[in-house]
């Protein structure tokens, strides 16, 4: 079935994934109009899009999305690069692994959200706390997958490269890092997913701007439609991050038949 490449099956494959979501929205819209669904519980899709459009026109949406995205990316940059660098270090040097890995594995088992009270005590409720939670959360997927990736580089390739006079930094650049890249990118995708989850939680706790603030504020005024706009925004941003990560995979791992674009 999947081997067929006739135009018919191609369009079918493109359209098929969207049939169910579109159907659900249609049913949702209809039941809201008929009156089965109270607009307090679930407003009709049309009114959600209308509120979304108004927020967009007033520039409010733009502002909140920008603030949230900045927090998410700052947290990712800090936590992600720390995870990558430490993963590279523990994967490469036995000595560093001996010193660091046990400690990191212990910390890993503490859910970042369990640290929220402590983080509030340390940093208060301003930007630093939110960025810290995100950074802490995205650190571990990248750390673990980088470490694992470095360790699972085929030793036969390393032996070959060394016997061909490739050592030191060149061995790292030509053999070890590219060999670990697939695993590192898996870590990045996990991190991106966690990044939004942690940001949502930290923004709902306390914030004066951002998507989380927007939805919490809307809740106060019983604006279920705006709450839903916020939820949809998170879904959209999460999907966008995933698409970007897949794009990176498709480019960097294009040598691998499993990732090459069809």
């Amino acid at each position: 079935m999947s081997k067929q490449t006739t135009p018919d099956s191609l369009t079918a494959r493109r359209i098929l994934p969207w049939v169910l979501p579109v159907l659900l929205i249609v049913i949702w819209e209809l039941s809201a109009r008929i009156g089965w669904l109270s607009s307090r519980v679930l407003p009709e899709p049309a009114s959600i899009f209308k509120s979304g459009w108004e927020l967009l026109r007033s520039g409010e949406l733009h502002h909140h999305v920008l603030v949230s995205t900045r927090r998410a990316l700052t947290g990712l940059a800090i936590g992600g690069s720390a995870g990558l660098l430490l993963g590279l270090a523990t994967g490469t040097f036995r000595r560093v692994e001996a010193v660091l890995d046990t400690t990191l594995q212990m910390i890993r088992n503490v859910p970042p959200l369990a640290l929220i009270p402590l983080i509030i005590l340390w940093f208060g409720i301003d930007e630093t706390a939110k960025i810290f939670i995100v950074a802490l959360g995205v650190f571990f997927p990248l750390y673990l997958n980088t470490y694992h990736g470095i360790r699972s580089v085929d030793p036969a390739l390393i032996e070959m490269a060394k016997s061909y006079g490739v050592t030191g930094w060149r061995l790292y650049r030509d053999v070890i890092f590219p060999g670990a890249l697939a695993s590192i990118l898996v870590g990045l995708r996990f991190s991106l997913g966690l990044m939004w989850v942690l940001l949502i939680v930290s923004e709902t706790i306390s914030a004066t701007e951002g998507i989380g603030y927007m939805t919490m504020n809307a809740r106060e005024f019983l604006r279920t439609d705006i709450v839903l706009v916020g939820i949809l925004l998170y879904a959209l941003l999460g999907k966008l991050a995933d698409v970007l990560a897949r794009g990176l995979e498709r480019f960097w791992l294009r040598w691998n038949p499993n990732y090459a674009s069809a």
Partner: protein, 290 residues
Amino acid sequence: MQINPEENSAVASSASVGNSVSSFGIALSVRDVHKRYGEREVLKGISLDIRPGEFVAIVGRSGCGKSTLLRLVAGLESGQEGELLYDGSASGGRSNDRHDTRIMFQDSRLLPWKRVGDNVALGLPPHEYINAEFVLGQVGLRERRLEWPARLSGGQRQRVALARALVHKPRLLLLDEPLGALDALTRIEMHALIESLWRESGFTALLVTHDVGEAIALADRVVLIDEGRITLDERIDLPRPRNRGHAAFAALEEKVLRRVLQQPPNESEPDDHPGDVSLHRTVDQVRWAV
């Protein structure tokens, strides 16, 4: 290098006699080498002298120690007793420093994330990258230089691996069952290619194989190792290129095979081959079943 056609033909004609004496290849001396892994002694006193430019094949059953010997010569293993002399000096054992020795493995070990041309250029200084293209041409894959290794067939990958070894102009080429995983037809093509490049370049070649026919087709000398000892050292004086259908060829093959078969199989011995062990075993078992 080997571009000069007159030089090539001179080397080729001297090699074709069978007793090539090339000043380019390395003279390799193995003196009473022992190697053990824990309790098990894999090599029990191997002595072997290989002249510059000579093509020597080592045959034997799985686990007889032939791959271990090759890896010692390549400097990929150490901790042996005895001496390894390269042109009379004991500079071996430090794999990173032996720029004149290159090894070709059973699995091609191409870097999958580098294009074919970049794989061949691995470890070359930038100003010699152009040579990679030239050597790729020698193995007939010049037009595939921008391809990813995953898109090549097994035989093509081994040709790339051969090019990658030869681009360094090695004076000693070590071949660790490089054709073991290939089909019979591709193997015969590879024999011709390896032989012609050896005759052109004049390097010393040491081939480990369990295919007696392959050993006789390529080598000046066939050495049989059994349970860590050399039990046969047979000179092959057939004219090149060798014809497998020839009676003398068949007689030699028969003779060596019979010597191999005299020894009891040592199936319980762990395989000392570091590569694809399952594949290696399968090929081996099929061969002995036939």
